[in-house]
């Protein structure tokens, strides 16, 4: 608008550019943005009201629409596509410590029986914990063990590997590597030294056994 009396020192950006700016701001902002908020954030001399009108027209009939909420503006998905959004509201919760430890033991020792998990953790494994891990599809039943009572075993699933970004359970670091990475801060007590010296090796041996290569 070169003919406005209070013409700024700097030319305002072209309208197409202002439209892009409004588009980016509304996209990235969590809450609807009032017109005043747009004016504040855009370069001097911009006219967000006009940019909004253009943008609104541009998104007409698209998968998302520019809508006015009170006196603020925001993008919303088109109402007729709501059926696609059903998976969008997922509430994530942190897994309990008991569940993480149980899961870790299954991952490192699979196939492992419930009794073995309890032996390693030193506490009984609640039914709910195992159920939860099965429901999450992170562990599943493996082959029965050929020991008295033929107990069922647990193994981790492909879903587990996907979730934790692992190519295989074999890629999990062993105790020695955990220690090297500083994930294992605690040091064995001085008295237990000879045992600690052997332990990592044994661990590694266990593991390659476990995954049978």
């Amino acid at each position: 608008m070169p003919d406005t009396p209070e013409k700024s020192l700097f030319e305002a950006p072209p309208m197409a550019e202002q439209e892009r700016m409004v588009e980016a701001i509304l996209f990235a902002t969590a809450d609807p943005v009032p017109l005043s908020g747009l004016i504040d954030r855009m370069p001097h001399g911009c006219d967000p009201a006009e940019a909004l009108a253009l943008l609104r027209r541009r998104y007409e009939g698209r998968g998302v629409r520019l809508v006015k909420v009170g006196d603020a503006w925001t993008f919303r998905t088109a109402p007729d596509l709501g059926f696609l959004m059903q998976k969008e509201t997922i509430e994530t919760r942190k897994l309990s410590r008991a569940a993480i430890e149980t899961l870790a033991i299954v991952a490192y020792h699979q196939p492992v029986t419930r009794a073995e998990i309890e032996e390693i953790r030193g506490v009984s494994v609640s039914r709910g914990t195992v159920d939860q891990l099965i429901e999450l599809e992170w562990i599943r039943l493996g082959r029965r063990k050929m020991t008295p009572g033929r107990p069922v075993t647990f193994v981790v699933t492909q879903t587990f590997l996907d979730h934790f970004g692992l190519e295989s359970a074999r890629d999990l670091p062993g105790l020695k590597e955990l220690r090297a990475a500083g994930l294992l801060d605690s040091r064995p007590p001085p008295g237990a030294a000879p045992l600690a010296g052997e332990e990592p090796d044994e661990e590694d041996a266990d593991q390659s056994d476990m995954f049978g290569d």
Binding site: A28, F75, Q86, R93, K94, I105, H163, L178
Partner: protein
């Protein structure tokens, strides 16, 4: 070019200042390779044409100076110095055919390769960090709860949680400060469970000691543990509003009774 020989023996003022600066900033170097890379820049040539011999001399001179200034050098720096001294001798002496192992040229070429590679990684890192970054230069969708229809709870954990969890269980045995593996121990949970079943029958004030499990009142260790557990459990029950507690005098028997609830 002709000045080159001369410079090696008597370093110029500039070189000396540079070496001193290096010593002062030793903490800023991440190990000998980093220091060598910095020194190699003073040669102002392509890393592939660098004179490893010059570099070795420069480094050894640096270590000597540091020693003269009684600066503490990490073991890494001394190991590198020893290795460079060995390399220097191999480069200077004619090759001995009877000697096994790689030639001085091969070793020097590998060091040059290492320096070049480290330099390349530094540059790559800088290029990487100079890229437009998410959350700084470009942005993700700000609002993600666009539609709220189905609410599904998913549980999540990170690989770090998993590895730390495993580390925790695999090490707790080592660190159990003491172990309550004695059979003469009653926990408060056990006492609480026992009392919950019993208080329903106790209408009037009853001595707390009558709640001790059968057989536990004789053995002193068992009596001590069960008394403490039962007492703690009775406090818990009082807190929950199930019972009243009284003690008429110091050391007098502690008595409890079920609380009569207004709504019961």
């Amino acid at each position: 070019m002709t000045g080159n020989e001369f410079q090696e023996d008597t370093p110029s003022l500039g070189d000396r200042l540079a070496a001193e600066a290096l010593i002062v900033d030793l903490g800023a170097y991440e190990g000998p390779l980093d220091l060598l890379l910095t020194m190699s820049r003073t040669q102002k040539v392509d890393l592939r044409q660098i004179s490893i011999l010059d570099l070795a001399r420069q480094y050894l001179a640096f270590v000597e100076q540091a020693k003269a200034l009684r600066l503490e050098l990490a073991a890494d720096y001394l190991v590198m110095a020893a290795w460079l001294a060995f390399l220097k001798s191999r480069l200077l002496l004619p090759p001995d055919p009877s000697e096994a192992g790689p030639s001085g040229e091969e070793l020097a070429a590998h060091l040059a390769f290492q320096l070049e590679r480290l330099q390349a990684m530094r540059e790559a890192a800088a290029q990487l960090m100079a890229r437009d970054q998410l959350g700084r230069d470009f942005f993700a969708r700000g609002m993600t709860s666009d539609v709220s229809r189905v609410r599904r709870i998913t549980y999540t954990a990170t690989l770090l949680d998993l590895m730390q969890g495993y580390a925790r269980v695999r090490t707790h045995d080592d660190f159990r400060p003491f172990v309550l593996d004695r059979d003469a121990v009653m926990t408060m949970e056990q006492a609480l469970e026992r009392m919950r079943g019993l208080i329903g029958f106790a209408g009037d004030w009853t001595d707390l000691t009558s709640y001790l499990p059968e057989g536990w009142e004789i053995d002193p260790a068992r009596r001590r543990s069960s008394t403490a557990a039962t007492f703690a459990a009775s406090l818990e029950l009082a807190k929950e509003g199930h019972i009243d507690i009284r003690q008429s005098d110091t050391f007098a028997p502690i008595e409890i009774r079920r609380k009569s609830r207004p709504d019961a």
